[in-house]
Structures are given as structure tokens and as C-alpha cells.
């Protein structure tokens, strides 16, 4: 059910493929009310959460009497006051492949920052005063902070509650595990001429989107619960809140205004349930938001992992066998735990066509901040390890790293069978590569970085500043095969404009613009004729939400289908005006043309349909794919290593990416460039650090460093366009793939400059300095 119609020749396209302005740009550059908090509601209360000071503890008793008595306090909630419904906060299609191990409020806390109680009051000051008046009788339990010992016998059990479901082995703190293979890796290793085994470690990275999580809830005139929230998943939020609060879905309306960035951190129901509970308890509108400090440890992080990779190759550079073992920490709760880690295998290993692949993974609970979805979704970890290792193997074999990759990389026509074994929580679907521009990405990227001229080959030269270049090749997916789906709805207005209503969730990526471009191109109208609205569960069709690089291909597929239907309807009415058969008509330039050149405007057709034929032209469509075409990316880095300070400074990053057809090249470049910035942070600076008691040590922007305008190196972005049969106008995706290769390309460049391998992220100056000293 691909919905692919024969593509129009790119040269003839009027809107798709153009570097058009964001359709929602005006309100953003003028500062008009756009975001969740840009609203004044009479009687709005402020919600605050009492956060656990302990990494692991039981609440023997909790006394809220003094807090409730404080003037200005309208609701105080603890586990005693709310339904106990096990659930996952992961924003995934039902049934979610994540354990149901989370409660609105619980009598046990599992990380520093876990919810103890919540208050709604007239002001923030009163709410915070009320929090101070809540008395908790704690039974402090031993924290579990080290993922390598989380499953040891005798370790405290984090999820000892009897009603959780979907946990692999709660008694061993094992949230989930994955074991899968094709071929026989041990046989493969016996055939190999060279086997390398290495260990890699990756940190907790925080999304650090500029707008922290925020929700405003109120009861409308019909006593329905309205949830205005900064989310990537409005429809999942509606379902989850209904389930958790035991109210019907029909009583909930979720509004998603503009989102100030998400990156996966908002593919999760983080605050909506609690804010809704406070509104139901108080009868008043309530705003609940995280401060920046809270955002760092009370929201979500990327999963930290320890990866052990073993790869066997033939002397000629053919990869024979690859065994990847992953230990990952999901933190206190298991949202996205097996799906993120599943991706570490399923979207990384198949990049190289080895006959023997094996993936073994344990995901453990810790009494630490909760991990979740984050741009790349398990791939940045896996690719850091895999691309570091293949670089090392190519070096050992004396092969050029690009040639080694080209020799082994998956190519058009290949079928990736590992994906069939690693679906999201169930058996997946095999992945057929129908478009692949990876060789061209490598070729163009190498030229842009100056690969031949800049390469040192891991030979450390004399001098204080050393330069080197490195490469990494990566892929991602475009939507979750057989899972992601979307609806779109279009109607014609009498001036030739069209309302496009989508449940797709533009979180700043520009997807509203891309979807409007797809509609405009299909209808043959200019972009300003498309009035896109996203998203409101009362008024827009269902969409799983913005994640898994799905919006362009899945939501875009729905938009294209709906637009094709509307175009056909318009042609039927135009046929009456033009006295020509509808199938002979062509829509372009806001007009409908008959074969002889005679034409009518879209507005004339719409007026005719409405006032003469008494018909509203309107159509809806749904779309899903049974395959997830991967975008491919070659990331090149040039770095400068200061041998005195150990600092690795990125000098130039080149991203050459096969994204299918770029619906909006300017926005596509912006996605790639933003991914590089986040990837550089992951490579060199970002890590949420916890102390020995599980408390965050750097939960602020002063000590959790992200790259600023001054830190960013020169960026070159090269869009390598291929024609993807499954995507609208040949599009695949771009939002995530660009982050995957940054850390390994930087690490490989650092090797090229120094002859040293860095296998732990972020690559800290003191570690570099120590390594350099060791070699002196």
C-alpha cells in the first residue's frame, strides 16, 4: 500500500524541491502567540512537583495536611489520591512495546527527581511553599547506579511492585533483552583472517530543546478536559491520559500549538497526566512546566550504553561476521527500552552486508533519570561503536576507510533480513533497499573535506596542534514499517485555497511546510493557497506523531493521497466548466487546464462546486508503509587536537546525505546541520553526570555544555538526491540520520591526527591529554 503514483519530472515541479520559506515563519519571527505558554487564562493555577531527593526509597507515609491548609492551594495529590494504573509514558502506537511499569504517582520513588506529590496553587511561590509543607516519612533503599552491576545477585530490586507488566525479569532489574542473529557468527569468526573486539561507552545526553516541557489543562464549557501541550504525540497523549485517569477518550481534547523543539524528548507523555489530574482535582486551569534545572533530570535522556563489538574480516576487507553486544540503562522506567536498543542492532548492523550477524542486548533498570527517545533512537550509540571499529579494522588491513566501507556497504536491491527479526516489539518486516546514494555521499563528502590531502593515517606529527580527518557512514529509517500511519484531510475554499488538516506534529522541523508543499504540488496550486493546521485531536485526523523520521514519508503520503482525491474532485467540477473529460485536465498555476489550453481558475471551480453544485470538495486519506526506506549518510570531520590541553576542536564537518528527494532543500539542510550540532555535543561535551547518590551534578546550562554559534565549525551539507519509490515525490527522511555519524567521524579524525583511539564519549580533554601523555 505504497500509494506511489508515477513521479512528475523534478524540473516540472513548482513547489516540491523549492527552498521556500516556512509557512509558519511569520508568527515565529514576529513573536506572535504561538507556543503552549503564550496564552492568558483567567484563574490559571501553577502546578509544581515534589521531586524525590532519594534515588531509591519507599514512602512509608506522606502527610499533606499542612500543604492543603495553606491559603491559595487548590489541590495536593499523592499516590493516595489518584488511580493506580500501570502504563508506559512512551509515545508509541498501541499496544506499546514498552513495559507498563510507571504510575501517575507511587508510594515508591526510583530516581532523584521522581514524582512524590504535586500541588496546584494560585502562584508559583505558594505552590513551592506548599511543597515544603509536605511531610514524607522515607524508608531509604540502596540506590542502583552502575549498569554493569544492576543484575548482580543481591542488588536492590527497583520494580518490585506486583502489578507492572511487560518487564523481562524484574527480580534481576532486567527491563528487556534482545537476542537475534542471522547466519552463525562463530562460524564466521573461524573463517576470518582478522578479528577485532573492542568496547565503547556512551553517555546520558539530554535533549536540551529550548522550550522545556510544558502543559496547560482546563475544563471547557462542556466539562471536557482540554490539554494544551508541547508534545510530539498528541494522539498518544489523549489515549494515555484517558487510560491513566480512567476517563473516556471522548472527554479529552489535546491541542498541540507550536513546539519549541523536541528531538524525541517530547515523544513521551511527561507532564500531561499529572497536569490533567491537578485540573480535575481543582476544577481550575493548571499550568505544569519543568524549569530548565528539572528538565535535565526529570524529563528524559539518551540511553547510556556499553557496547562490545567483535568483527571478523577477510584479508581483502570483506566483513564476514559481526557480533554486537549491548548493555544499556533505561533508568528508573522502561519507556522505549527495547525499541531504542533494538534499533542499535537493526539500523546499524545491516549497513554492512555480512553473512553472519548477531545482536545481544540487555537493558537494565537503574535508579537514575529515565531514558527515552532521542534523535537517532539508539543509532548514535551503535554507529559510534561500529564506525569506530570498522575504521580501526580498515587501518589494520592497510585499506582506505572509504574503500573499506564501499566494499561492504548495503546497496540497492539488497534485502536486509535482520530488520525482519527486529521489529518494534514484535517481528518486523524485511527491508528492501530500493534507493541508495551512499557511494555518491562518500565521493562528494570526501571531495568536500579534502580527504586525500588532509589525511594523516594515524601518524602523529610533531607540533602542538594536530589535524586529522575522519569518516563515518550511517543510515536510519523513514517511519516504522507496518506501525506508523497517518491521516490527512483537505477541503476546498471558494477563493481557490485549501485547508489541510493533519495530525502530524511539526515540532520545529518544518514539517508543516513540507506537507503543505506536497499538497500544493499535487493540487497544482501555489504554496500560499494551502492553509495547514496541525494538530488538535478534535479537528485533525489521527497521526502517530512526529518520530522515527516518519512525517515526510508517512504523513506526507497521506497528504498526497488526500490531495490527489481533491484534485480529481476539482477536475470533475472543472470538466463541467471546460466541457472536457476530467481525466484530460491538468492542474497547475492555480488553474485547471483543458487539452486545448482553455482553463479555469481553482477559485472558479470551487465557487462552481459550492454555490452551483452545492458540494463541499473535501477528502481524507490514510497512509502507511510496509517498509522503512533508509536514508544514507556519510559524515566527514576535520578536527584539530591541542596536544597541550587535550582539546579536540572540530574544524569542518561535512554531511553528505541521501534523503531521497528533498521536498524543501533549505529545511533539509537545516535538519542535517542541527543534527551535527547535537552530534558534536554528544561527541565532545555533553553528559548528564550523576554523583554517588544518583543526584545530578550538572543540571544547568552552565555545566552541561551545548555548542553555541562560536563553537560550531564550518559546516558543509550536501544533499544527494535519489528517487525512493515508497516516498511522496521520491522523498525518504532527513531528521535523524545526520546525528549518527558525527561522534565516530570525530573520533576517527582524532585518531587520524594522533594515532589514538577514543572509545568513550564524550571525548574529554583530560582523557585525550592522558592518552597523549601515555604515548609520549
Amino acid at each position: 500500500m505504497s500509494g506511489a503514483s508515477p513521479p512528475s519530472p523534478p524540473s516540472r515541479r513548482a513547489v516540491v524541491g523549492r527552498r521556500v520559506r516556512k509557512v509558519d515563519g511569520f508568527k515565529l519571527v514576529t513573536g506572535r502567540t504561538a507556543f503552549t505558554d503564550d496564552i492568558a487564562l483567567p484563574g490559571l493555577l501553577v502546578g509544581r512537583i515534589l521531586a524525590s531527593p532519594h534515588a531509591h526509597a519507599r514512602i512509608r507515609d506522606i502527610d499533606t495536611r499542612r500543604a492543603k491548609a495553606l491559603p491559595g492551594v487548590h489541590a495536593v495529590l499523592t499516590w493516595k489520591d489518584v488511580p493506580r494504573v500501570p502504563h508506559t509514558t512512551a509515545g508509541q502506537a498501541w499496544p506499546e512495546p514498552s513495559p507498563y511499569d510507571t504510575y501517575l504517582l507511587d508510594s515508591k520513588v526510583r530516581f532523584v527527581g521522581d514524582r512524590v506529590a504535586a500541588v496546584a496553587a494560585e502562584t508559583r511561590a505558594v505552590a513551592e511553599e506548599a511543597l515544603r509543607l509536605i511531610e514524607v516519612d522515607w524508608e531509604v533503599l540502596p540506590p542502583v547506579l552502575d549498569m554493569e552491576h544492576a543484575m548482580d545477585p543481591g542488588t536492590a530490586v527497583i520494580h518490585d511492585e506486583p502489578d507492572a507488566t511487560g518487564i523481562r525479569d524484574a527480580a534481576r532489574n532486567l527491563a528487556g533483552d534482545i537476542h537475534t542473529h542471522i547466519g552463525d557468527v562463530e562460524a564466521g569468526f573461524r573463517e576470518s583472517d582478522l578479528i577485532l573486539e573492542r568496547e565503547y561507552r556512551t553517555p546520558r545526553q539530554q535533549h536540551a530543546m529550548l522550550e522545556p516541557h510544558i502543559v496547560i489543562c482546563w475544563l471547557d464549557a462542556d466539562n471536557r478536559l482540554v490539554i494544551r501541550t508541547s508534545t510530539q504525540i498528541p494522539f498518544h497523549v489523549r489515549r494515555q491520559v484517558a487510560m491513566i485517569l480512567r476517563i473516556p477518550v471522548s472527554r479529552i481534547r489535546v491541542i498541540k500549538p507550536r513546539i519549541g523543539g523536541g528531538f524525541g524528548g517530547k515523544q513521551e507523555m511527561v507532564l500531561e497526566d499529572l497536569c490533567a489530574a491537578l485540573t480535575l482535582a481543582s476544577g481550575r486551569p493548571v499550568k505544569l512546566e519543568y524549569s530548565r534545572h528539572e528538565e535535565f533530570f526529570m524529563a528524559r535522556t539518551r540511553h547510556p550504553q556499553i557496547l562490545r563489538l567483535r568483527m571478523g574480516v577477510k584479508r581483502d576487507g570483506t566483513i564476514v561476521a559481526h557480533h554486537m553486544r549491548v548493555l544499556a540503562a533505561t533508568g528508573a522506567y522502561g519507556s522505549h527500552c527495547t525499541t531504542v536498543q533494538g534499533n542499535t542492532g537493526s539500523k546499524v548492523l545491516p549497513l554492512y552486508r555480512a553473512p553472519h550477524l548477531r545482536f545481544d542486548c540487555d537493558v537494565v533498570y537503574l535508579t537514575t533519570p529515565q531514558a527515552g527517545a532521542f534523535r537517532g533512537y539508539g543509532c548514535p550509540q551503535g554507529y559510534f561503536a561500529q564506525e569506530s571499529l570498522v575504521d580501526e579494522i580498515a587501518h589494520e588491513l592497510g585499506m582506505d576507510p572509504i574503500a573499506f566501507r564501499l566494499k561492504n556497504a548495503i546497496r540497492q536491491g539488497d534485502v536486509d533480513e535482520l530488520s525482519a527479526q527486529l521489529g518494534e516489539g514484535k517481528k518486523g518486516l524485511p527491508r528492501t533497499i530500493r534507493s541508495c546514494g551512499l557511494p555518491e555521499c562518500l565521493e562528494k563528502g570526501a571531495a568536500a573535506i579534502g580527504w586525500k590531502e588532509q589525511r594523516n593515517g594515524g601518524v602523529r606529527r610533531p607540533g602542538r596542534l594536530l589535524r586529522g580527518v575522519g569518516v563515518a557512514t550511517t543510515m536510519q529509517g523513514s517511519g516504522i514499517a507496518g506501525v506508523d500511519f497517518a491521516g490527512a484531510f483537505l477541503k476546498a475554499n471558494e477563493d481557490g485555497s485549501f485547508n489541510l488538516q493533519v495530525g502530524a506534529t511539526d515540532l520545529g522541523t518544518g514539517s508543516d511546510t513540507v506537507l503543505a508543499q506536497i499538497a500544493a504540488e499535487t493540487l497544482g496550486v501555489s504554496l500560499d493557497k494551502i492553509l495547514i493546521y496541525s494538530s488538535d485531536t478534535d479537528f485533525t485526523p489521527f497521526d502517530v506523531g512526529a518520530y522515527a523520521s516518519s512525517t515526510t514519508i508517512i504523513s506526507g503520503g497521506a497528504v498526497k493521497k488526500a490531495a490527489e482525491k481533491v484534485r480529481d474532485d476539482m477536475c470533475c467540477f472543472a470538466a463541467q466548466l471546460l466541457d472536457a473529460p476530467p481525466e484530460d485536465l491538468v492542474c497547475r498555476d492555480n488553474r485547471v487546464f483543458a487539452p486545448g489550453g482553455k482553463s479555469v481558475s481553482m477559485a472558479e471551480v470551487a465557487v462552481h462546486a459550492l454555490y452551483k453544485e452545492k458540494t463541499q470538495v473535501m477528502e481524507g486519506a490514510s497512509h502507511f508503509n510496509t517498509d522503512s526506506p533508509p536514508p544514507f549518510c556519510a559524515t566527514f570531520a576535520e578536527v584539530e587536537v591541542d596536544t597541550e590541553t587535550g582539546r579536540v576542536r572540530p574544524v569542518h564537518l561535512v554531511t553528505a546525505v541521501d534523503l531521497g528527494v528533498a521536498i524543501n532543500p533549505m529545511q533539509a539542510e537545516g535538519q542535517a546541520e542541527g543534527a551535527v550540532a547535537q552530534g558534536l555535543g554528544y561527541a565532545l561535551a555533553e553528559e548528564l553526570v550523576l554523583d554517588g547518590r544518583g543526584r545530578p551534578a550538572n543540571a544547568n546550562f552552565c555545566d552541561y555544555k551545548i555548542f553555541t554559534a562560536k563553537d560550531m565549525p564550518k559546516l558543509t551539507t550536501i544533499l544527494v538526491e535519489t528517487e525512493e519509490p515508497l516516498g511522496p515525490f521520491g522523498a525518504k527522511s532527513i531528521a535523524e540520520v545526520g546525528i549518527n555519524g558525527v561522534a565516530p567521524a570525530v573520533a576517527n579524525a582524532a585518531f587520524d591526527a594522533t594515532g589514538l583511539r577514543f572509545r568513550r564519549l564524550p571525548i574529554r580533554p583530560d582523557a585525550v591529554l592522558a592518552a597523549l601523555g601515555g604515548r609520549r
Binding site: T123, A125, E644, T645, G646, R647, A685, V689, A697, N698, C702, D703, K705, F707, T708, K710, D711, P765, D766, L769
Partner: protein
């Protein structure tokens, strides 16, 4: 955040500011002076009951200090003022401008003041190393110790003694009103140079370590006077006196610089925290002092009179 604040005073004179602070203290309750707010607001002490705002005081100036040379800088002069001061750019190789330009983001530098930067007594304070290398002093008005002392209730404290520990300036309730920088003692035929170095984790960052050096050589190219100051490498910004002593009296060259840098690192007392380990800070003290002294050497070699 400051919900308990019940008084926000905006005096126009130093005397009024001191009077208001004294009266508030007598009435009880915590309070503070505020200028740019770039530290006070971030610290977010919700128990504050009163604030005396210094914005309207006539303390935003950079002036030459009489005929003898040297400078006075009013305590509410912003980092941006310092960064952009054409006069200070020509003084001491612009070492104060360079340091001010690294302190926080442009928005922070438009608000943050030299007085606030020093009075918070952060070990990582960016202006401290260059000011220590310039033998600067702090002029404090009022306060328990000052009230009985010199005319106008003002006292002058050498900057080195001003920093008593992290967050512990020698103010005794007084108000830092001015920074005094004496004329460097450059002899006839001598040459002088200054330099500032800072290392953060990224470009725009609090210092992991910062350092400043000032060197004066006689016409014989021997070092007559040396100042080496290091920040974020101990409980206070510090002078590396033994390293300075190593330079004085000897020919100032690259070897001397490196030896002094190594000794300076030995004078630090760094701590480990989330930004860096103590060992790394100590090693970076050596590197940065070495770079600052190298820069001084280069400046002297390039144009002996550039700093004047």
C-alpha cells in the same frame, strides 16, 4: 523566585546606598547589593528581604589616575564597557579588555559589572588574574571595618587580600566602589608586556583555568618585575609568587617562561569538580601560564613600546 523581597532601593549616591543597607540590616532580614544581577539572580536566594540597587550610582567610569599614571575603574562599569574601552585597549596590552571579553555571553557582559565580578569572589572570576597582575586594589566604602577608618569611610584593600575564599570577599558589609590600578613600574629603557589566557570546555564558558601574566624587563633584557596570576586553580584567584621570583633578575626568554610556568602550576591548589579534575587544572595552569608568558615575550619582541 524573589517573592519575599519587600524592598527594592534605588539610591543615587554611595552614601545613600550605605545608609539604606545599614538601616535594613538593623531592621533585620537578609539583603544584598545588586548591580547587573548576573550572579545574584542566578544564585536565586529566595530568602532575600531587601535589595539595594547600584545601577544609579555614579560608578560607571574608566578614568586615568592623576598625573602619575594608572587607572581607576568604577565598580558598576560593565564587562562590555571594559571590553570596548579604547583607553584600556591601549593600556597593558589590553589585558583587561581581553579578560572582560571572555566573561559570559554578550548579554551577560552588557549587565555584569567589574564590581560584581570581583565581589562574588568566585575562584574562576575572569577579571581577577589580570587585575592581580596589575597590582590592583579594591576601594571599599562603609562596612563594619571601614566606617571608622580613613576619610569618607573608605579603605583600600590589595586585591590579593580581597579574596578570602570562594564567595568570601573582604567587604565586611561595605560596598566595593572602585578598582585602582597603579602605573606599572617600567624603568627608562625598559619594556613591559601583559597577556591573558583562558581555557573553558567550549568557547563560551566559565574558566576551567584562567591566567594572566605581566612582565617588565630592563634595557638589559633582564626581568625586573613579574606578575603571574591564576584563577579557578584554588579557593581564590592566586598570585604564583615563587614562579614570579624565578623570573625576576634573570634574562626573560622562552626557557625562563617555561620554568616559571612549571613552578606556577606547583603553587596551585585546584579541586576536582564536574568541569575538570584537579590534576587537569594543575596541568592547564602550567600550559596557560606558559602561553601567557610566551605571549608577553612575543609582544616585547614585536614592538617593545606596544604596551605604552
Amino acid at each position: 523566585m524573589f517573592d519575599r523581597l519587600r524592598a527594592f532601593h534605588r539610591p543615587a549616591t554611595v552614601a545613600a546606598a550605605l545608609r539604606l543597607a545599614t538601616a535594613e540590616r538593623r531592621a533585620g532580614g537578609r539583603g544584598a547589593f545588586v548591580a547587573g544581577g548576573t550572579d545574584l539572580v542566578v544564585q536565586g536566594d529566595g530568602s532575600l528581604r531587601w535589595v539595594v540597587d547600584l545601577s544609579l550610582l555614579p560608578l560607571r567610569y574608566v578614568r586615568r589616575r592623576g598625573a602619575g599614571g594608572g587607572w581607576t575603574i568604577g565598580s558598576t562599569t560593565t564587562m562590555a564597557d571594559l571590553e570596548r574601552s579604547a583607553a584600556l585597549r591601549r593600556f597593558a596590552d589590553g589585558v583587561l579588555c581581553d579578560a572582560a571579553a571572555t566573561a559570559g555571553s554578550p548579554q551577560i557582559r552588557n549587565r555584569g559589572t567589574i564590581g560584581g565580578n570581583l565581589a562574588n569572589a568566585s575562584p574562576a572570576c575572569d577579571l581577577a588574574p589580570p587585575l592581580l597582575a596589575l597590582d590592583a586594589s579594591a576601594v571599599i566604602a562603609g562596612g563594619a571595618a571601614g566606617a571608622r577608618k580613613a576619610a569618607g569611610g573608605r579603605r583600600t584593600v590589595a586585591l590579593e587580600r580581597f579574596f578570602r575564599g570562594p564567595g568570601r570577599p573582604a567587604l565586611n558589609g561595605g560596598l566595593l566602589v572602585e578598582i585602582v590600578i597603579p602605573a606599572p613600574p617600567v624603568p627608562r629603557g625598559g619594556r613591559a608586556a601583559w597577556a591573558f589566557q583562558k581555557l573553558g570546555r567550549l568557547q563560551s564558558d566559565i574558566a576551567v583555568v584562567n591566567a594572566a601574566a605581566g612582565v617588565i624587563v630592563g634595557s638589559d633584557c633582564r626581568c625586573r618585575w613579574a606578575r603571574i596570576a591564576i584563577g579557578a586553580a584554588g579557593p581564590t584567584p592566586l598570585r604564583a609568587r615563587r614562579a614570579e621570583a624565578l623570573l625576576v633578575g634573570r634574562p626573560f626568554d622562552r626557557d625562563a617562561a617555561q620554568a616559571a610556568a612549571a613552578r606556577a602550576a606547583g603553587e596551585t591548589r585546584p579541586v576536582s569538580d564536574v568541569r575538570a579534575t584537579a590534576d587537569y587544572r594543575r596541568e592547564m595552569s602550567r600550559v596557560l601560564v606558559g602561553r601567557a608568558l610566551d605571549e608577553c615575550l612575543e609582544r616585547m619582541g614585536r614592538d617593545p613600546w606596544a604596551s605604552w
